[in-house]
């Protein structure tokens, strides 16, 4: 079991957002988490990544059997957890090259490996750029600064490709993408799928799941996973809308 979430309660400033989430993700699987706005999808992603503004009040998150809450943000990342941001942060003055070199080498150091030699690092950059069809020389630009929405999301997948995580959580990576960018991002993800890693794809729309075909679909509603199923659940949701879930819950 790669990820095991048990009865997770979490919130911000005393306000509870997650109200008992249970989720299990095994290696090789792709899970989609869907649900209406404001039900806690992004909170769940943030809590797994360790964002400090959220407090876990109950329950636990186990990753490879380890209690994630004991790990810092960076140690979770070094253990292989990657969060694709819904809104990637612009960091003027930090070039993508330096950012990635620092990140890759810190992860390597954590694993007891020597820093990647400069030439090898640059080759790796080129290879991974191709994966997400980054043709422009945005690698010497500051992180996300002045990027279009599509460039920012491609850049997230590029970073994921560089870091080769075990568990990637993609938080509404499809939002704000046109159909071409969506295809590129999805292709990137599909090429990175392996038997020993897993993806949790958070999305509001079914559209992305035409490209990244999930093994499981979960519906998060009012801080809980209220429905789980196969990929056909996404189609059913698309057809019936989230009102269907709301009515079911109210009944």
């Amino acid at each position: 079991m790669l990820l095991q979430i048990k009865n997770l309660h979490a919130g911000i400033n005393g306000k509870e957002i997650l109200r008992g989430v249970d989720l299990e993700v095994k290696k090789g699987e792709v899970h989609a988490i869907m649900g209406p706005n404001g039900t806690g999808k992004s909170t769940l992603a943030s809590v797994i990544a360790g964002r400090e503004v959220f407090n876990v009040t109950e329950g636990e998150i186990l990753y490879n059997g380890k209690d994630l809450q004991k790990l810092s943000i960076e140690d979770r990342a070094r253990e292989g957890i990657f969060l694709g941001f819904q809104y990637p942060v612009e960091i003027p003055g930090v070039s993508i090259t330096n950012f990635m070199r620092t990140a890759v080498n810190e992860v390597r150091k954590f694993k007891g490996l020597d820093p990647l030699p400069g030439g090898e690092f640059l080759r790796l950059m080129e290879e991974k750029k191709r994966l997400v069809e980054i043709t422009s020389n945005l690698t010497n630009r500051s992180v996300n600064e002045g990027f279009s929405g599509g460039e920012k999301k491609k850049n997230e997948i590029f970073q994921m490709a560089m870091l080769e995580p075990m568990l990637a959580i993609l938080d509404e990576t499809d939002s704000g993408l046109d159909i071409d960018a969506l295809r590129i991002v999805a292709n990137g993800v599909n090429k990175l799928r392996r038997p020993d890693n897993a993806f949790v794809v958070i999305t509001h729309y079914q559209r992305l799941l035409d490209y990244i075909v999930p093994d499981f679909v979960h519906v998060l509603f009012q801080g809980k996973i209220v429905k789980s199923g196969g990929k056909e659940l996404a189609l059913e949701l698309e057809e019936k809308g989230y009102d269907w879930i709301k009515k079911e819950q109210e009944a």
């Binding site: 990544a49 360790g50 964002r51 400090e52 503004v53 810092s72 943000i73 960076e74 990342a77 070094r78 990657f82 969060l83 941001f85 990637p88 942060v89 960091i91 003027p92 003055g93 930090v94 330096n98 950012f99 990635m100 070199r101 620092t102 990140a103 080498n105 810190e106 992860v107 954590f110 820093p115 500051s142 992180v143 970073q159 870091l163």
Partner: protein, 469 residues
Amino acid sequence: MHTENKEIITRERLIRLYEKNRSFLAENDTAILAEKRNSAFESFVRLGFPDTSMESWRHTDLDESFMRTYDYDLHPGEEVDVQKVFRCNIPHLDTAVIGLLNGWYVSKDVPLMELGNGIILGSLAEARKKYPQIIEKYYGTAADDATDGFTALNTAFARDGVFIYVPDNVKSPKPVQLINVIHHEENLFLQSRNLIVVGANAKLSLVHCDDSYNHQASFSNIVTEVHLGENGILDHYKLQNLNNNSTLISSVYFKLDAAAHLESHYISLNGGMLRNNIRLLFGGSHGNANIFGLYLMDRKQHVDNQVFVDHAYPDCTSNEMFKGILDEHARAIFNGHVLVRRHATHTDARQTNKNILLTDTARVNSKPFLEIYNDDVKCSHGSTTGQLDTESMFYLRQRGIGEETARMLLMFAFADEIVTKISIPQLRQRIEDMVKKRLQGELQICEQCVLHCSTPEHPMEFNIDLTKI
């Protein structure tokens, strides 16, 4: 007696000292210069030292600096081993490195260099004797003896300092490096005076470093006048890396003739009490000035940047950008004052001050200020003070970058906006290196900003690798 030992600095002490040494101080003055000295002294008697009751000194209290005892020499001390002080070889005199030790020009055997292209470089004391016409034309014409007590005091006592003269139409082939080192066994008070003249269509790059050599306290009152002729270009760097017991009052007066262009960079890396008075006058139309500042302060360090830009002529552009990172109990003051006079149409003036406070105890007082008497102008000002961005921190750490390294990356990125504006590549690398060391708390006060240590036998290499910070 031209030396006083271990006394505190008071207005009375200096008045007494001046009166006692009046003729000695003026021994090489022409009649005009003697008159300047005298009237500056009268000003000082009237003005005395500034105090916190004055608006521009409201946040900078010098009491602690004044209450220390200092030696004050009115002539150069005994010869010292120059090479030892500068820690590496002083290169041949045809290279453009000049040094001041305790305010006195070093290298007594060749006090004034006259380069083939007409550039004059060396001791101001010597230039007063040798080039009285040039000196009389420029000396004391930009500095404000009438209202600034420190400047008046400097003019009254000025003996030596650096003189740089670039004649019309001459472009200095390499940057001039002026190294100002303080090294004395006792606490030292010093006042040096620099005069820099860049002629019409002339060009100069000047790297001006203030360095300490030990941890002894010092109080420097330094005045620099800079004249830029029509179409003249000056690329100016002021680098300050002084010990925590240093007080530095640095007043630089820029006067720009028509279409002159100034780039000035103030990089303050260390210093107990730093006060930069930067006063710029556009003395003709179509002038252009960029003044950038970066200060990285910690402990109880104090830095006060006062920038006054006088748009007295139309069609001039000025841009000020000062950025600072303050840790522990450090304090920074930024006062920017842009004056746009009635006839100065099409003025374009910008002021920006940005600060990052790393602790609750660090403080900033920022006051960008525009005073505008013309309607047809483009002016803006802005000031921000905040902490390191938490979203950026989370983003970096989520990629596996440790908290300390992430902080370093963000601080360096913040500082880099100023560092990247340095147009001399080796200097930019050197400063980048020093800024990184400073942010990691590893910069030594004796680590000089000079580039001349890079001799063929000992090439100096900077490993600029962000993964190491």
